[in-house]
């Protein structure tokens, strides 16, 4: 028996390792596919494998992407100067000739505009939060606000792609794919990288599957999109007229046919396929159990808000993200559309906030009460900031803001992040960074660091070049790490 296992181990490991594009976590994968490889308690094997370069502070990530770029000036970056100078022209000494998008570069005037919404300080940390985020205001002492994020892209598509893949162009692997590659999965029945989509009523800018692409990595690292319909994962449900027992019988029949092939051809790929069918079968049970939110207790529903029982809403996705994370999914990526307020900001932004504020805060509180916040990193933010001047008409009650790559605010909580702090600073006009800038590459380096990965060592050689999520730059932002 021992010999038999060793032989399988040998053949299969060679087989897995022979595929160059499989991840460093591929032994983890191997053990998932063939739990008996290590002949031990499956649960023990499923946890603890992976390959951090050093002790990780975070084991998993939930990234609440606010798609379209929420204004930092109406959320967390309080600039009373703009209210004081409301309607006055943006001084040239502040703009310094920096490029603008085609949407406002033709404007004859750039009137400054102050936040329509009131700000107040909250918590022990005294973080400034606008009135449209009353729930996030309650968890500021768990959060770190980075007010000095900046990016290179000035339009949605390249900026989103940059935030998610570390390059504006070029079909590079996304952040979640890199983590799946580097660390493998923590759960034998679920993908390592899950994607959840929702949409607010505000101006939407679309999301694209290239944002969760595996790029040149093996497609096993591709984000698996969960959907809000009857089928939580594509092609998961058995066809009508079938059931669990029939499926099991089919798999047994299939394994028999495949084994005949294997006996003849000796190709280990056939064995792998048998195991992949078994994992698919396990997913068919595990996923619906997990995505069924109807059995959540009242106090949880109350926390996330009644929307969390409506599939496909941001609130439902936050709750689902917590469950996936709890089950060991390495990277849960949410996208919420509708944050692109070129006009009608005072009309649209409160609705966007209303759709997301409560559930975002609830997620942090929920993780905390379960003791999961310590090793789960939560990220909230968009792809760039918004201008301090008005786009289009500045009326008494309304205005718009254009794209602004020079500065924006994101927040993070848990997973080894120092709680209750603010990092970086913008000038009093909210236009340029005056202290501790954080580039997108730095942000990526920091996230990888929290997960125990050295961003300069997490590499994949493709067409002769060693690629990294952080390309050729990136510095870990150490002051925000606990």
């Amino acid at each position: 028996m021992k010999e038999f296992i060793e032989n399988r181990l040998h053949v299969n490991r060679r087989h897995f390792l022979g595929k160059v594009s499989l991840g460093l976590g591929s032994v983890a994968l191997g053990s998932l596919l063939i739990p008996s490889l290590f002949n031990g308690d499956e649960e023990d094997i499923a946890s603890g494998v992976g390959m951090p370069h050093f002790a990780p502070k975070a084991k998993r990530v939930i990234y609440l992407f606010q798609n379209g770029a929420p204004s930092q000036l109406e959320s967390f970056d309080y600039k009373p100067m703009l209210n004081k100078m409301h309607g006055q022209e943006l001084p040239a000494s502040v703009r310094m000739g920096q490029r603008l998008t085609g949407m406002t570069s033709g404007q004859s005037k750039f009137p400054l505009v102050g936040s329509h919404f009131k700000f107040q300080q909250y918590g022990k940390s005294g973080a400034w939060v606008s009135e449209i985020f009353p729930n996030m205001a309650k968890v500021v002492d768990d959060m770190c606000f980075i007010k000095s994020m900046h990016t290179e892209a000035i339009n949605h598509d390249p900026a989103l792609t940059f935030m998610q893949t570390g390059a504006q162009q070029g079909n590079r692997p996304s952040m979640g794919a890199w983590l799946s590659y580097g660390l493998g999965s923590e759960n034998k029945n679920l993908p390592a990288y899950c994607v959840l989509l929702s949409r607010g009523k505000g101006n939407g800018q679309g999301v694209y599957s290239k944002l969760w692409t595996n790029g040149f990595l093996d497609s096993v690292h591709q984000g698996v999109q969960f959907t809000s319909g009857e089928e939580p994962v594509l092609y998961l449900n058995d066809p009508t007229g079938s059931d669990k027992v029939r499926r099991r019988k089919m798999l047994d029949q299939l394994a028999e046919l495949n084994s005949i092939s294997y006996q003849q051809f000796g190709d280990p790929e056939i064995q792998t396929r048998i195991q992949q069918y078994e994992m698919a079968f396990r997913m068919q049970t595990a996923v619906p159990e997990l995505t069924d939110l109807s059995k959540e207790p009242d106090d949880i529903v109350k926390m996330y808000g009644p929307d969390c029982l409506v599939p496909g809403t941001y609130a439902a996705n936050c709750l689902l993200a917590r469950k996936l994370s709890e089950a060991g999914v390495r990277f849960v990526q949410l996208y919420h559309q509708g944050w692109d307020q070129h006009g009608n900001l005072t009309g649209e932004m409160p609705n966007q906030a209303k759709d997301t504020d409560r559930a975002s805060a609830a997620l942090i509180m929920d993780l905390k009460q379960r003791g999961l916040l310590d090793d789960t990193l939560v990220i909230w933010g968009g792809e760039f900031g918004r201008t301090n001047y008005c786009q289009g008409n500045l009326s008494e009650k309304n205005y718009g803001r254009d794209h602004h790559p020079r500065c924006y605010t994101i927040c993070m909580a848990g997973g080894g992040i120092k709680p209750g702090i603010t990092y970086g600073e913008t000038d009093e006009f909210g236009y340029n960074i005056v202290k501790a800038p954080v580039h997108v590459n730095d942000f990526h380096a920091t996230v990888l660091n929290l997960l125990g990965l050295d961003h300069e060592k997490l590499i994949f050689k493709h067409l002769g070049r060693r690629y990294r999520l952080t390309d050729v730059a990136g510095k870990v932002v150490k002051p925000i790490i606990a």
Partner: protein, 778 residues
């Protein structure tokens, strides 16, 4: 329990680390399949030494002048033998004397402050690699030009003492095999060989008639006859086009944000046509690169230039147009490099190439060729889709054209179709080096030039435009064009190129497993008029190709990747062919060639969930009728949300030029095969058809088996499936209400079969057959 957990944790980490180290070393040593490889008698610079220097040293001591440390470069002959800046008496390499060679001294230094590469680079040399370099210096350290930049010369195929060889290819292959103490497998059985060659040439399974005829034909020409027939089958063009569409990043949408509709499908129809008409590769390439510059171009030549307009185009309001226009020119330049030269030119966009002899200036010199067209950075919005906003220049294809010169365009209605093509403006647009690749930071102006080290561009003979570029590429002495193409075709048939990195023939690419074979093929290909069908026939007629796929434990251990071709590789069908196989074997396939792309079954809400809500492609409107049963190549590709089942089976998302698909084996693929309505509908339709035939249960199963696995079932397989059928039938008889639900799948018309439970059971058997590994493996 805690202890136990702990122990497992560490064990798992240990195992992961060990395995990681193995993986690591594989990456660090791309040219070494296994670390125990013997030290070669004669150390070859091209094959042993440069790969190490390139991978571990060139980043700081290579072609990129701005990054070069200590004025030391190891990528040129002069650099390798030069004296040291800080100590002119000492030399990088002293031929025959490793101890006095600074290079060897530094790579073997015990003092980490002296050691190269420096530890903080995360790069290191293995003991074996150090020994190789030492031995190379001992043996006089001879420099050689990079193999891929030396024009190929056809050596005489080696003499082999064996009657195994069918043609020259086998002679080269056999010699390598023998060097590894491997012997070829026997010939594949006729049924499996027919399946393989049929999928490889037409992308479709052999019909039962074809199977019968081939089995019956005992003549020595039986196989060749089949090959000739397949090559004349018009589905050959479709099969060959699949791979070219990846190279050309073909899609049906623009690719950014709102991702609106484009109609480049007439260009796709041309590609199929060109393969079917067996256009020589030099013509195929020239028309696509420069059809518009050929004197008095025909409309077909103009259409072919759509190749260079297949890149993504933004429609995002507010973009800075020049930023995107530059992006498109870069895309054309990069595609040119990858598609025809197998070089990563894009690495020289922001700085000199780190590994290959491509300066940034040369990059922009090549860029200049593609910078002469008057296209726009941003194209229009979607108010009126009847005249969709194609980016000029365009050609309009009318019904008149289709009647006359473009008969291969499968046009469905009266409206002209607009296709984006190439057209240079009359005045030359000046091109500048862009500092760090930034569109708004121009540096010095550059003329038209290509990387000189690859192959010189004779400006006296060649015009300074894309036509000149095509002539440069198709010069018989060009070191790359032919090699790159024959290697790709080889890859399509064997699952692995002779150069495994089929997109990178540069310093960082892998070395050819059979260099003499590659060169012989490349020269032979050119000498025979760049004939693609001839090349395909050579490949499939070889004994190498016709081997069986059985793999012994020994062969698996010695050559797990089948680099030495001592067996046929079992290769999973690409995503498009999985669809084709399911539709063809069930009788559903609509064999029409070309035309607008189709929208088959797809899970609900995919486009809707991710779209911005704007544009004609915001909602997925599924097609009906015949359009559900077209070949996979015609599936509509919306770039931001490509068909999910295709992505899961490793298809390209058509974001950029791709020359090789990886092949994975995942649980999501299992879910597709078990639950995709396309597979289930095919199972239902085939089951109903078989039930209507007046034959026994066993005969029905047996015929289904033969259609799907393309061979007769073994007795044990039939027995097992028969028992399974009975079990399923018993179940459905007891659960009749489930039968209706099961058979309801798909829009294809229902046949009236009296034995409903039997039909459902047979359908289940057929779905199971489609799910076997063998069904989707060629």
């Amino acid at each position: 329990m805690f202890f136990l957990r702990h122990r497992w944790y560490w064990m798992a980490i240990f195992i992961a680390m060990t395995a990681g180290a193995i993986l690591w070393s594989q990456r660090q040593q791309p040219f070494l399949e296994n670390a125990s490889e013997k030290m070669p008698g004669v150390v070859d610079f091209n094959f042993h030494v440069r790969p190490i220097l390139s991978d571990r040293c060139f980043k700081c001591h290579g072609p990129d002048a701005s990054q070069r440390k200590a004025e030391l470069r190891l990528d040129t002959e002069a650099g390798l033998y030069q004296s040291l800046r800080e100590n002119p008496g000492a030399h990088v390499i002293v031929q025959g004397n490793p101890k006095d060679s600074e290079l060897y001294r530094r790579i073997s230094a015990a003092d980490t402050s002296q050691l190269m590469p420096p530890p903080n680079s995360n790069l290191a040399l293995s003991v074996y690699e150090k020994r190789l370099i030492k031995k190379w210096i001992d043996q006089e350290a001879k420099f050689q030009k990079h193999w891929a930049f030396i024009s190929p010369l056809a050596a005489e195929p080696p003499e082999v003492d064996s009657d195994w060889s069918s043609n020259e290819l086998d002679q080269f292959v056999l010699v390598k095999m023998e060097e590894q103490n491997l012997e070829p497998n026997g010939k594949a059985d006729k049924e499996r060989l027919l399946k393989r060659v049929s999928f490889d040439i037409t992308g479709l399974p052999p019909s039962i008639t074809m199977q019968e005829n081939f089995l019956k034909d005992n003549s020595s020409y039986a196989y060749e006859k089949v090959v000739d027939e397949l090559l004349e089958n018009p589905h050959y063009g479709e099969k060959m086009a699949i791979y070219w569409l990846d190279v050309a990043r073909y899609a049906d949408s623009h690719g950014y944000q709102d991702d609106g509709l484009r109609t480049m499908w007439p260009w796709r129809d041309w590609v199929i046509h060109a393969f079917n008409k067996n256009y020589p590769y030099d013509k195929f390439l020239t028309w696509q690169l420069a059809g518009d510059l050929i004197p008095n171009p025909t409309k077909e030549m103009l259409l072919a230039t759509g190749f260079n307009r297949n890149h993504k185009i933004t429609e995002e309001f507010g973009v800075i147009e020049e930023e995107y226009r530059i992006e498109y020119v870069s895309d054309r330049t990069n595609t040119f490099g990858k598609a025809f030269l197998a070089l990563t030119l894009e690495c020289a966009k922001c700085h000199d190439h780190k590994y290959d002899p491509v300066s940034q200036k040369e990059y922009y010199g090549t860029f200049a060729f593609f910078n002469q067209i008057n296209d726009k950075g941003l194209i229009g919005e979607f108010q009126d889709m009847s005249a969709f906003p194609a980016d000029p220049p365009v050609i309009l294809i009318t019904n008149e054209d289709v009647k006359n010169v473009l008969a291969f365009v499968n046009k469905k209605d009266q409206d002209p179709v607009s296709v984006m093509v190439m057209k240079d403006s009359s005045a030359v647009r000046p091109t500048h080096v862009l500092i760090r690749g930034a569109y708004d930071v121009p540096g010095e102006e550059v003329g038209f030039q290509i990387p000189e080290a690859i192959y010189p561009y004779d400006t006296k003979r060649l015009p300074k435009n894309r036509l000149g570029l095509a002539k440069w590429l198709t010069d018989k002495n060009h070191p790359l064009t032919s090699r790159v193409f024959v290697n790709r075709i080889w890859q399509e048939f064997f699952g692995r190129g002779i150069v495994r990195t089929s997109g990178d023939f540069g310093m960082q690419g892998e070395l050819p497993s059979h260099p003499e074979l590659l060169d012989w093929l490349a020269v032979d290909f050119m000498n025979h008029g760049w004939g693609i069908k001839r090349l395909v026939k050579q490949i499939v007629m070889s004994s190498t190709y016709q081997q069986s796929a059985e793999v012994s434990r020994r062969k698996l251990a010695v050559d797990p990747e089948n680099k030495y071709l001592s067996r046929a590789s079992r290769v999973r069908l690409p995503s498009e062919l999985i669809k084709d196989h399911v539709l063809a074997s069930s009788g559903l396939l609509v064999e029409e060639i070309g035309g607008p792309s189709v929208k088959p079954y797809q899970p609900d809400g995919m486009w809707e969930a991710s779209a911005s809500g704007r544009g004609v492609l915001a909602n997925y409107v599924q097609d009906h009728g015949d359009k559900l049963y077209r070949r996979g190549i015609y599936n509509f590709i919306k770039r931001t949300v490509p068909p999910p089942s295709m992505l899961m089976f490793d298809a390209s998302n058509r974001d950029q030029c791709e020359v090789r698909r990886i092949s994975t084996n995942t649980p999501l693929q299992a879910l597709i095969m078990m639950n995709d309505p396309m597979v289930l509908e095919a199972s239902r339709v085939l089951a109903q058809r078989l039930m209507l035939e007046n034959i026994s249960v066993q005969a029905r199963i047996s015929k289904g088996f033969r259609l799907i696995l393309c061979r007769k079932a073994l007795e044990k397989e039939l027995n097992s499936l028969g028992a399974y059928f009975e079990d399923e039938k018993k179940y459905f008889e007891s659960e009749l209400q489930k039968v209706e639900a099961k058979l309801a799948v798909g829009e294809y018309k229902q046949e009236k079969v009296n034995d409903r439970a039997g039909t459902a059971a047979l359908m289940q058997v057929i779905t199971t057959l489609y799910n076997t590994d063998e069904a989707i493996t060629k």
